[in-house]
Structures are given as structure tokens and as C-alpha cells.
Symmetry: C2
Subunit: 193 residues, 2 copies
DNA sequence: TTATTCATTGAATTTTTGTTTAACAAAATT
DNA sequence: AATTTTGTTAAACAAAAATTCAATGAATAA
């Protein structure tokens, strides 16, 4: 049984290897800037072998976007009563994840780039656009405004400010892994009344 | 005299035209993703003519980075007494500029990308890295902490949180020009004690 | 007006990148 | 052990992009 899977496992490993180095490269150089030769060299294989595992550069990018979609939405599952509490918890949680696992920070960056990069495969762009925390959080902000815990003002603009701050910080940490990470509550103070 | 300059002016106009469309394209597609054919088509000229005005794509990118360096550092000139006031004013000022002049928002994005994009010309990357508001503002934050106006905590992390929030919001506005713009004071609340 | 310079294009050329393939080595199956 | 399947490479090939160039016509200078 273990013999039978040896190749399967290795194939899976190789694929993951490609995905891993590609994530870094796509972040560093963008979709077009990343050459197959970059990927294959980083993964320690010939350019030809790349095509044994993926049909194209597009496919790798799309697969990363799918992985990112799951990972980036996961933190939203937290069940809350106090709206401000929710935002404090979520930002703390995101920052903690980023501190512990730099790959998550990288994913934030990748997904943001995937939304933007018009040279990237359209499918991946669509996938990345599904991460829309700003719209998702508007009702929560409105609830907090009613109870007076969250400051007054356009709920969409507030949600935007909060999530863009998170995004900006995550991106920075992804690029500068050694810099000190802010506290989650600081970002939540954007919303605090 | 005016006759003599006619061609000079036109040449300057063409160059600016190229710079302008390139800014948009570089933001949308990154350095490598932007083809000479994209630039020349957007500027309404043949690909060959591009080389009449610039030696290479690199040169255009570098010139944009130089322009961005000036434009992005300008807002820091504000003279302040109250540290928190400084941050409120500066964020309000930046947001106002972005609302009025989308090109500034685009520049924020471009400069951030230029720092990151390892497929971009090294010269431009170095230029972009000169924009370092985070380090520049640490003393101001320390001053505010002494007078109790700014919250306690690692000054560098606070500065990072503030500037990354600004960056994140500016980037979002650059991509979604019709979204509502947050208030400057909200972002300054990251720092408020 | 004539000669000269410059802007412009489209095609030719060169370079880079992406992809396929033929050949071979290693592993698995019989 | 023999055969088949899979992993791997380097070279061949194809496509795309960057860059150069010869030709043309318009603006400028003489």
C-alpha cells in the first residue's frame, strides 16, 4: 500500500513545492514578471518538468487563488455579540496568524494582487474578488452604531477604513517579516466611538 | 520663437502622454505585464514611435518613480505643535488630495508596487524605498506618548499601523474611485490614547 | 523654393519566454 | 527479470515581445 502511494505522494509533494515557490514569486514579480524558468529553478527542476505537473502558469495562479479564498475567509467564522468586540477579536486573530504563519500574510498580499493584476488570469481575479469583507461587515457596523459602541459616519466608509488598514498592515508584514506587528485593538480603534 | 518651440512642446506632450498612460498600465498590470504595445496603443501611436521618446520601458518606470518620490513626500512638510494634530491633519490632507486628484492615489499605489515588484528596474525600486514615512514619524509619536496624547506601545509598530492604514486606503481608492472616502481623523484614532 | 530635420509608421530582426517532444532513467507491475 | 509506467532532462520548436530600421511625409530652416 505504502509502495503504491510512493509516486502519488511524490507527485503531490512536487505540486506543492511548485505552488509554494510560485506564491513567493508571484508576490515578488507579479504574474507576468514570474517566468516558468523562475518557478522551475526555485523548485529545483527543469522548465520542462513544470509542465508535467501543471498545464500552464495560469493554472498555478488559479489554484493559488482558490487556496487563498478559503484561507482568507476562514477568520470570519467567529461568533460575536458585541460588534466592537468582533472587530477587535478578528484583527487580533489575523495579526496572530500572520505572526505565527507568514504564509497567511503572503496570501493576503497575493489575493490583493490577484484582484488588481489585469495581466493575471481572469478566473483567478474573479476568485480573488469573492473576498469582500468590506460589504460583509457593514451590517455589523450599523448594529454597533445603534448601540453607540461604534462611531457615527458612513458604515461603508468605516468598514473600508478598517479592512484596508488590516490589508495594508498584512501586506507590509508580508514584505518585511521582521518588523514589529501592531496590536489588533489599535486597528479596531478606527471604529470605536 | 513660438515656431521654434512647436516641436519641442509636442515632444514634451508626447512624453507626458506616455508617462500618463504608463502609470495606469503599470498599476493595472505591473512592470512585466505592461507591454510596449499596451503603452503605445493607449497613447495612440505605433510601438516603434515609443522608442523615439524613451529608450526602454525601464526608463519610463524610473521616471515615474522619480515623479512619485516628490509627490508622495510633499505632504510631510506640514509644521505642527500637537503630535496627534499632525497625524489628523496629514491623513485628512492625503485623503483630500486623493478625492480631488486621483493621480495622487494612483501614485501611492505605484510607489508601493515599485518597492515590491522585483521584476521592476532596480533603480526605481531604490527610489521608491526612499519614501519611508514610518521611520520618519517615530520621533513624533514618541513625543505624543510623553504628553499622553498618543497611546502607549512600540512607537515603530504604531507608526507602521498608521501609515499602512493610509497606504491600504489609498490603494483601495485608487482601484475603486467611486467608493466613499474615510475621514482622516478615523485613521488618526489608531494612535489616539 | 529647396534642402534639411524630425515625427511617424509598418515591416524586419532579435531576444525572450512558453510549450512540446524525443530520449532516457527510475520505479512499479507482471 | 522483463515490461510497463512514470519522472526527468535538454534540446527543439513556437509564440510573443522588444528593438531596430528603411521609407515617407510633414514641419522647419535656408
Amino acid at each position: 500500500m505504502s509502495e503504491i502511494n510512493k509516486r502519488e505522494e511524490q507527485k503531490e509533494e512536487r505540486r506543492n513545492q511548485i505552488l509554494e515557490v510560485s506564491l513567493d514569486l508571484f508576490i515578488e514579480k507579479g504574474f507576468s514578471g514570474t517566468k516558468i524558468s523562475d518557478i522551475s529553478a526555485s523548485a529545483g527542476m527543469s522548465a520542462g518538468l513544470f509542465f508535467h505537473y501543471f498545464e500552464s502558469k495560469e493554472q498555478v495562479y488559479e489554484e493559488l487563488a482558490n487556496i487563498g479564498l478559503e484561507g482568507t475567509q476562514a477568520p470570519m467564522m467567529y461568533d460575536f455579540e458585541n460588534p466592537l468586540d468582533f472587530f477587535e477579536t478578528i484583527s487580533e486573530q489575523i495579526f496572530m496568524t500572520i505572526r505565527q504563519n507568514r504564509r497567511v500574510a503572503k496570501m493576503f498580499l497575493f489575493m490583493a494582487n490577484a484582484q488588481l493584476d489585469k495581466s493575471a488570469p481572469p478566473k483567478a481575479r474573479e476568485t480573488a474578488l469573492k473576498v469582500n469583507n468590506i460589504q460583509l461587515c457593514i451590517p455589523i457596523i450599523e448594529k454597533g452604531q445603534k448601540t453607540g459602541i461604534i462611531k457615527q459616519g458612513d458604515p461603508e466608509a468605516l468598514s473600508l477604513a478598517f479592512w484596508c488598514a488590516i490589508q495594508g498592515i498584512a501586506e507590509y508584514i508580508a514584505v518585511n517579516p521582521d518588523s514589529s506587528c501592531p496590536q489588533g485593538s489599535w486597528v479596531a480603534d478606527i471604529l470605536r466611538a
